[in-house]
């Protein structure tokens, strides 16, 4: 009885140590992880749900985290897979093939308002265009263009080959170029 009590106590101490270690790592990377979650989802609420869900998943799998490797990348991967699982399970959003995306519908929105472009109110249109990308494409664009990861690093986070990162990134950027055409042109003219 005494012996099993000792084992249980040392087991819970170990778990408490792990929880502290996890809490420290997650706090150190919090802003970066939130930014990734925010750009992957459509709203602040969705980002918060996703990040909390991913933090729980990560804690359950924390024994598989290899010390000395980057915790933020490891958690970003869990964030991404959690999102993809949610999208597939809940079918909240239909995952379109990029070729079948309704480009004309998007262009009809304020993304095509050159006046707004000149006035510099870019956040809404850029954010909406990013949101319109399928999650697999959006994740690559966010990782490389916003987070500044290399292709190899992005492939590691997404669990896919580097060639896939390159082709998704190219197609994602071309779609964004079409949706944000007035802003792209204004920027090239030096009007932004």
């Amino acid at each position: 009885m005494g012996e099993s009590g000792t084992i249980a106590a040392s087991g819970s101490m170990q778990e408490a140590d792990q929880a502290d270690q996890f809490a420290t790592l997650i706090a150190e990377n919090w802003h970066r992880l939130y930014r990734f979650a925010y750009h992957l989802t459509r709203s602040r609420e969705e980002a918060e749900d996703l990040l909390q869900q991913a933090a729980e998943e990560a804690f359950k799998a924390f024994h598989r985290f290899r010390p000395g490797t980057r915790f933020d990348r490891w958690l970003m991967r869990i964030l991404y897979t959690t999102l993809i699982d949610q999208v597939r399970k809940e079918r909240r959003r239909k995952v379109f093939e990029l070729d079948s995306l309704p480009l004309s519908a998007l262009q009809a929105g304020d993304a095509s308002d050159p006046e707004a472009a000149v006035e510099g109110s870019l956040d809404g249109p850029v954010r909406r265009a990013l949101d319109a990308l399928p999650p697999e494409f959006r994740a690559v664009v966010v990782l490389v263009d916003i987070e500044g990861l290399s292709y190899v690093e992005a492939a590691d986070v997404l669990g896919c080959p580097v060639g896939t990162v390159r082709s998704r990134l190219h197609r994602g950027r071309l779609a964004l170029r079409e949706w944000l055409r007035p802003y792209v042109d204004a920027l090239k003219r030096g009007d932004l």
């Binding site: 408490a16 706090a27 802003h31 729980e56 802003y183 920027l187």
Partner: protein, 156 residues
């Protein structure tokens, strides 16, 4: 003119090509206005994306996430204690049900054979249980002798 390099243009913009590949793309760009336009557009898209404001999390979010993680920790030991308690109760009840406490009367050999048959019964019902192994190891006669004795009695 050679074929347009397509996604190599994206890799070119990001500096993700080898020197040789980058030189090939640069040579193509010198001759191809269409691809120069694409490269310029891709850079503009990149600039637009990087202009997005930095989102900042709600100050309470980290605390909420921590509470959620701690609730996982609180759930875990309770569950495992119940599982251990359940498994031990099952093992004890099974043992009591299958093996009577007092050995049957008779010779030393008959007693050993009796134990062996009950152990074999228990082992076939619970092939991986520690009880089976312990019973076999504590048997007073070698396995071959027991097996022979059981077979000789059961064979008509």
């Amino acid at each position: 003119m050679q074929e347009h390099p397509s996604d190599q243009l994206t890799a070119y913009v990001d500096g993700e090509l080898t020197l040789e590949e980058a030189a090939e793309v640069a040579a193509h760009l010198a001759e191809c206005a269409h691809c120069r336009e694409v490269v310029s557009d891709l850079r503009a898209v990149q600039t637009l994306l990087r202009s997005l404001p930095e989102p900042s999390p709600d100050p309470s979010l980290l605390l909420r996430a921590r509470e959620r993680v701690e609730s996982v920790l609180a759930r875990k030991p309770r569950l495992s204690r119940w599982l251990i308690a359940g498994a031990v109760s099952f093992a004890v009840l099974t043992f009591v049900a299958l093996v009577p406490l007092s050995p049957p009367p008779g010779s030393h050999e008959a007693g050993a054979v009796w134990h062996f048959r009950h152990h074999a019964q228990l082992a076939s019902a619970h092939p991986l249980s520690d009880v089976t192994l312990a019973s076999y190891l504590s048997s007073p006669l070698p396995y071959d002798t027991l097996e022979e004795a059981v077979l000789s009695r059961e064979t008509p």
